[in-house]
Amino acid sequence: MKCGVVVFPGSNCDHDVYHVLRHVTDQDASFLWHERDDVDGCDLVVLPGGFSYGDYLRAGAMAAVSPVMAAVRQHADNGGLVLGICNGFQILLEAGLLPGAMRRNRDLRFLGCDVRVRVERNDLPFTRGYDVGQVLRLPVGHAEGNYADTAAALDQLEANGQVVFRYVDASGDADEAGSGNLNGAERAIAGICNRQGNVCALMPHPERAAEEVLGQTDGLAMFAGLVGSLTATTDSRVGATS
């Protein structure tokens, strides 16, 4: 699988994602500079966390109009996989590749801690390594992760099955007002995908929870699942041409 990690000025989780793709899941990974106008033939494009353009104007707003994003949009339109993590989620919202918007966290403070998220569907390449209902412990680090949209749009999102991850409390309940939903996201939404299911984004950082030595491994199955799904697609393509 060929993976590209986009580097915007101010991206700061780019090395972490690259490390997991390259050294933990042993994939062909490279960095994609924000000024390029293609995605270098990558199967998977990751928009990593960080503070692209210093979060000036609005988190993700300036990155959303950088040259590489036109190529990412093209890649997504062609059915290519796009994963947005944290700032990557914010960028995909600003670019209109995913619906909704982010507000400041409910208590207006940066939130750096572990959260629990529940996997809502596992028929996506991003979540095929998990069970539906499985609760993952993952780190978060953001000031604007309070997902919002109109009630009608949220209903539509739910009806389409586009909610992929929800924050849950210790007993596994995804209550919007509950203790598990620290940033105050509407309907406790932690991650969503597009209608087609090839663009997915979440606020927590699976790449920081993918190695035994760090004592947290719940994020690894996301990358392993992506590798598995792409390897399977590649194999079937090879089979079809021969």
Binding site: C13, D16, R109, F110
Partner: protein, 754 residues
Amino acid sequence: MSSGGDTADGFAENVALTRRRIKMEPVVDLELALEHGLIDEEFDQLRSFLGREPSYTELGITSALFSEHCSYKSSKTWLREFPTSGPRVVQGPGENAGIVDIGDGWVAAFKMESHNHPSYIAPYQGAATGVGGILRDVFTMGARPIACLDSLRFGEIDAPRMRHLVDGVVRGIGDYGNCVGIPTVGGECGFHASYNGNILVNAFALGVCRREGIFRAEASGVGNPILYVGSRTGRDGIHGATMASESFDEESEAKRPTVQVGDPFTEKILLEACLEAMRTGVVVAIQDMGAAGLTSSCFEMASRGDAGFELDLEKVPLREPALTPYEMMLSESQERMVVVASQGGEATLEEIFKRWGLQVVPIGHVTATGRALLRYDGDVVADMPVSPLVDEAPVYERPVREAGAQDPAAVPECEDPTGALRTLLGTPELGSKEWISDQYDSTVRSNTVVGPGGDAAVLRVKGVRAGLALTSDVNPSYCALDPREGGRQAVAEAARNLACVGALPIGLTDCLNFGNPENPAVAFQLRECIRGMAEACQVLEVPVVSGNVSLYNETDGDSIHPTPTVAMVGLIEELGVNPGWCREASFVESQDRLVLLGSDDLEYGGSSYQRLLLGAESGRPPRVDLQAERQLGDLLRAGFGSGLVKTAHDISNGGLAVALAECTFARSLGCSVRVQGGVGSLFSESQARVVVAVAARYLDSFLELASRSTVDAREIGEVGGDRLRIGFDGGELDEQVDVLREIWRTALPKALDL
């Protein structure tokens, strides 16, 4: 935001305006020199270095170089007592950061610096730029920063402005470090009335690089171009170094313009661009423009390389029009670096910095004259010898007034130890610091094995077998009561905290925060703390590789408690060999046995119990037995290394009761313990003590291991249940873990009225 210098017309206009402003500069005389913080003899010294009267620019430059902050003039004599070498030391004090070898061809560069005065005046920007400065000190050595610690000392929470200061400092540190993407993995935070008018913000950063990738800030190669990179220069921070070398008074508020304004986004791209530039082979030397900006960076680089330099200051990129040479040389605008490139290397560097969207401008070159020749549009504005100003800056051995020895403090009669524990855990001092650490990103860069809250943070380093452990410690109350013992204790506690995660100390950096050194009582504290630290460093074999001194921390004549903050780095031989260990100072399994290491002498002088429950601070602080500390550390490392020890937690502020309570919180797992002696054993702060949890089947082996050392080891109870129970002669402390945890967890938010 424009300097007006970007077009030919704008440039000419700017030069004309600047020339008019230069003409209006005051005539230099003794009075003006005194206003600049120099004393008579220092002004004479400057005149003899020059052989003539100094220009206004020269006076400004000298006031910065001779300031306490840059020259260490009141502390240098005593700092020489620190041991600075050792088998792992690659770079000792004198560079932008110290460096130690961490194995497999890798090194760690680290340093701690204070940003106390700016943080009191403007807490958000002061703290933020403190983080920015220390990160630049690390990456200027060629090392990529991978972790920060912050040691914070606030006043009483009800003191004027204090909640505002706490909030601003925490936000400032968080917003800066989070944006640059360097995890804040630990630190400490204390509250004491002595900081009511002068808080302390000490920021530590550590970076790693390959041994062959180290850069030093030594200007060399006659004719090599000097490049200015990073943000443009404004008027912020002018005379910051001088301000940091003065006491506070009612007029300090008026100094707000001398506090710099930080931009973490620029820092992040500057970091990436500099590390990339350093890999090209055309960077000869590099240094950030920290305190005293362009002045200290150029003078220090030239001095280390026995070189001179020439600058054409009209080329300096400006953020606002008509800065005079004086202002340019003293501005502390943030996120700027000076690079000495090899001749012909300019184009390579220009390509890199421009790609990252940063200024890169040749402003001068290295000379062999040993002099600093500064011109503005062709006119010489300063022509000074480099080496005398940097290396022959004044050094004073300040007169000291010795304080008398203290008697031991009385052991308090405590009738309700359970209530006392509840009270202690509910103070901001001993309560959870999660409210702070949750505002910091502690896991970015995906190296954090143990983050904030444990005895020491633990990091893996990609490509290195060993793990790194980091901690910062000092007990200002102990230092106030007995500075020698307090200095020893700071080093000993840091080493003990590292041992509690199985790490061997390999180096330390410090921030020596004291009051006015011209006050003989303060000078005594400074000397004694340094001597105590040096003694501990000798016995524990920990070299001092970098550090910082912050003096004149006083307001209207009242000095802060002596606060020699120690940040120590340790090595865990092979990380991840035994993943069953819990390095987080938390009980993990019922029926694990608890062993108390070390012995108790019922010491209460300067203790948390005395301060927080009795409102006193008196008597002799706990004695430090350095040999005992050394033995204890060796035993803990052997215990971890052989897989016998599961959890270890240092007994420090609040004594055994607080230490045990802290171990119960993470997993709501209580314990049942019985101690020898009366109720005094619960809160005594005798040193060289650690509580250890071992699996029942390993208890005998561990006690056997301990018996081969001189460390006193006694089984005191076991893990289990949902209560913390500590029996003693004449009674029992008994409370539900959940009740204690709630008090502890909400202590700081409650104190902040949140």
